[in-house]
Symmetry: D2
Subunit: 336 residues, 4 copies
Amino acid sequence: MTKVVILGATGYTALELIKILLRHPHVEITAASTRQEGSPPIHTIHQSLTGRLDLNCEDLTPSEIATRGDFAFCALPHGASTAAIPDLLAGGCRVVDLSADYRLTDPGVYEKWYGLVHTDPTRLGSTVYGLPELYGEGIPDAPLVANPGCYTSTAILGMTPLLCGGFIEPAGIIVDAKSGVSGAGRGLKLGSLYCEVNEAFKAYGVEGHRHQPEIDQVLSDISGESVSVTFIPHLLPMDRGILCTMYPRLKRPATQDELLACMREYYADKPLIRVVDHVPSTKDVAHTSFCHMTVRFNGDQVIVMSVTDNLGKGAAGVAVQNFNIMAGYDETTALI
Amino acid sequence: MTKVVILGATGYTALELIKILLRHPHVEITAASTRQEGSPPIHTIHQSLTGRLDLNCEDLTPSEIATRGDFAFCALPHGASTAAIPDLLAGGCRVVDLSADYRLTDPGVYEKWYGLVHTDPTRLGSTVYGLPELYGEGIPDAPLVANPGCYTSTAILGMTPLLCGGFIEPAGIIVDAKSGVSGAGRGLKLGSLYCEVNEAFKAYGVEGHRHQPEIDQVLSDISGESVSVTFIPHLLPMDRGILCTMYPRLKRPATQDELLACMREYYADKPLIRVVDHVPSTKDVAHTSFCHMTVRFNGDQVIVMSVTDNLGKGAAGVAVQNFNIMAGYDETTALI
Amino acid sequence: MTKVVILGATGYTALELIKILLRHPHVEITAASTRQEGSPPIHTIHQSLTGRLDLNCEDLTPSEIATRGDFAFCALPHGASTAAIPDLLAGGCRVVDLSADYRLTDPGVYEKWYGLVHTDPTRLGSTVYGLPELYGEGIPDAPLVANPGCYTSTAILGMTPLLCGGFIEPAGIIVDAKSGVSGAGRGLKLGSLYCEVNEAFKAYGVEGHRHQPEIDQVLSDISGESVSVTFIPHLLPMDRGILCTMYPRLKRPATQDELLACMREYYADKPLIRVVDHVPSTKDVAHTSFCHMTVRFNGDQVIVMSVTDNLGKGAAGVAVQNFNIMAGYDETTALI
Amino acid sequence: MTKVVILGATGYTALELIKILLRHPHVEITAASTRQEGSPPIHTIHQSLTGRLDLNCEDLTPSEIATRGDFAFCALPHGASTAAIPDLLAGGCRVVDLSADYRLTDPGVYEKWYGLVHTDPTRLGSTVYGLPELYGEGIPDAPLVANPGCYTSTAILGMTPLLCGGFIEPAGIIVDAKSGVSGAGRGLKLGSLYCEVNEAFKAYGVEGHRHQPEIDQVLSDISGESVSVTFIPHLLPMDRGILCTMYPRLKRPATQDELLACMREYYADKPLIRVVDHVPSTKDVAHTSFCHMTVRFNGDQVIVMSVTDNLGKGAAGVAVQNFNIMAGYDETTALI
């Protein structure tokens, strides 16, 4: 059994992570941390865990946490992760970080988009980006993996094959993205209230969203070209699910079958990706760690559609996938 | 044109009130108050009012408000209403109070359920309870009307005919009530977050809810008997609508037709009540000021079902109905 | 009072139409037709009309209908409209047609997209397209007005000012559109079942949707250029509302303020259009006949966002707006 | 590996069953039947199964099915089950029947509520009712298990401890039940359309619902008293989840702690039941096979609240639980 600890246990991502780990045959959750006082039992924070996980949420230091587990899932807000992770690593804990703190390689870009001076910049360049379908070889031995953003994964997984296959232009890709509300977290914000979101739909972050530089960075790195996307997220009146509808420009004439074949070949041995013939719905992958995608033509315009569950493949699912690879378990353990 | 002012303009009830009043041919909204600083234009608080109401939300004293309108709709939290209303009345303003402050006749009961010592107890006994179908004769000349609670109206309207008709026992009436989320207001509460409410259903206030003594008081007053109900509210994953499913005990044998006839006769001349043959849905009355109800037998058990829109007949709609009666307009102006 | 009749009374659009007309001070609904047998009272088809409209749905011929009203709202399926409208017009009835039958000017395009040979092609070229903000001058005297499609109106209203202002290229406009489920009608289709749509989001009609040629036709006509859009609709898990997020290419450098000013000027005297400073939500216009829109830059990419209620400004609201103009009433009667 | 087949593979219950069985380490799904022509691949019926289950839905006779598996899950409509099950059993297949066909012991009661003459009445008395917490001892050796109804399980599990503990009266128990829409199945019914259900709430089956005699039968059998309930179901605007709010009458004075202790003791060794201290939400058990319950007092009135996922513990989850017991696996395999 591998002992794992969870930092930041009160949010939706942590809850999803716990539910997945409870199905994992080789994992024991040994601690859960939160800044809340009084060490509340975790089932008072997440009622659905009543009788399933007998653990109190403790206000622990990173050093204390490092003594409690071999692996840590860090579900803290950005900024808080960099405050905890160096000590976790120093204490011998390997870490999957679900925050944005170690995703971007350039501390200047981080500062611009997150409004914080990065306090652990030397690790930025060397931390592996935890999208196993693209960066799988760096994960088995990594002490720290930066789990990708949910929009980011969905967009990147959809665009990578056609980009690397030389079918599409690296510039001017439009990513019209839509996400369920759980992606906004469990914080008390007016915009997350039921009556603000229900029976409502709108765009947000229209003039620039933090996932845009992350998408550009990864697609550029993976394709060797300078990729720039227009990324426009929207909030869907539902719990979970992301659909990215993407409009790239063709570099050279191609048929739909060629594009589908390119996608299929790229992900041929990837157990959590499905290139499908139909138009995918977010519901097809809800409560799973799968990503479904397809490609279509509308006249001359290529449209790539990619769906994930923002809490699954978009957050907790890929975190456990990364953990499985780091710990030497089958990549899909507890995930399918 | 009657000049009206709105106190507490940031909530959902105030928004609904404004939308109804914008359709009212004899009303001009002359001021809207809020404690927010900076006198924000109202459309920055309620985007849907953009281009429809050109008004800033001001932080006004009750005395200032009284100089701005002939009528005030007071959509403040309980406690805040008693702090404002005496000055509004002293300033010559007639008031429809949408809070709970003047609904209960006994200051001790108010203190028990609202945790506050009532600061204007002398008005408690003399304030008319603003359910026009029951207390219509006291409304035309009232300086102050206490608008009922949303659950309360829905339950009371449904039970009154059979109770006054002598068909049912006053004791042991079970009121299983369900409400949309807008009834919980626009405050930042964990329980009002989209992901807590969506795809979820549960009871709350099970051991006692503030609308229970209000229901008991009004049904006892109107029937002349000592009525006590078991009132169990539930939160529905939807914006608007209340259904009360009520289980009274029959006092004497009766047929369904007799019970329906009793209801129909009681509300024969009431323009906003519909006794229907079918089983009513909350959606039938959503975005209206109507109350639909019916009665059925399941074996020997009588079941009364009554639906309203909690923001309509349950709050803003009945407030405008009260205002219309006070101001001498047709009762249904702007409401049908 | 103007006597109006409604053909095809069982759908959601007809219900919305009736609710609007019940608030109209100069309208009497004199008949409602349906092919259902037995002349059911309309409240058995639409429970919410109980006690509000005392009318049976009759299986009437167009000639009979023409004797019952001065105006007809035709909410029939496409194909059925052309079968009824010539007789309605011959009978002296003026008609607002909510189907697609008279929207397209080219019978070949109609046949391609609707799979039907048009049976009244001579009226195609001469029928006014009922978007009053663009074609208002032809409506007052029109015997027949072709009410636009819901997606169509939302996209066209959003793109017209910038196109006519010479700011954007006519080719390659991407229209990523999202609609609530009521736009799919009340027919029994697997894809309209609650459990298929709820907590789900997907694109449909990706390779070509009927509203695409309609958008192209109208934008080309109004701008004098050959406009072609890529139109990708998506189904939102909610009742009502359309958002079109549109990505045109700039023809010449411009600032956001210039683009907003262009929009504002274009719609300066249009009472149902609001060019807003904020990012609009479908909920802002739900249950209204308003269209809200704005424009933003993301880097160099222009994004136009436009929202309507698909049953309001997208269908029944604009139908009543057209009727008001035809009948000589104020354009916004019963609509604001 | 145990070979299992699924009859009636197109519905929501079958999909849930398949998803659970895909996680089962000892099960291979060897066939899925449907009356649809052309043997469609199952992922064309359930898109979410793409790449997860490579199987065509075949139109098989019961005898053919019996050659394909050791166990059959029968998710056919009532009436169709009795037509298939005798042949399945004769062919050596053991069966979990998810229809209502073998739940009631009296063929007359079955005929009254289902409108069909029972064609296999001799099995009625001897078939075990598949609620393992109550009838667990009969399941290991049963050839056929009658899986309970979803409302039924939720109500029965909640009421049984207090009834068997002698705390409450067997007569006059009010069961106010609320269910998500998936309980209504995947058939094309007007009442299952998104726009009919969304933002709507109403009761149905008010004068008598098929689960009422089933609840009465089981509670009477288990308590040895003649139990009769008033059962009023309501339709919730959500996919999954049942809450039964139940109002029994106390037989003798008791405290809340005594009632909770009675519940806890009754289910002490039951791995899928949780007696909780808080008020349970349907969301706590969504996508699981757990049942959560508690009890409260409101004045003198006892309120029992019990929640399940209607597709989980209410249907597919309990079916797999029954299968596990029949096949000799741990009761909770694939379920927690």
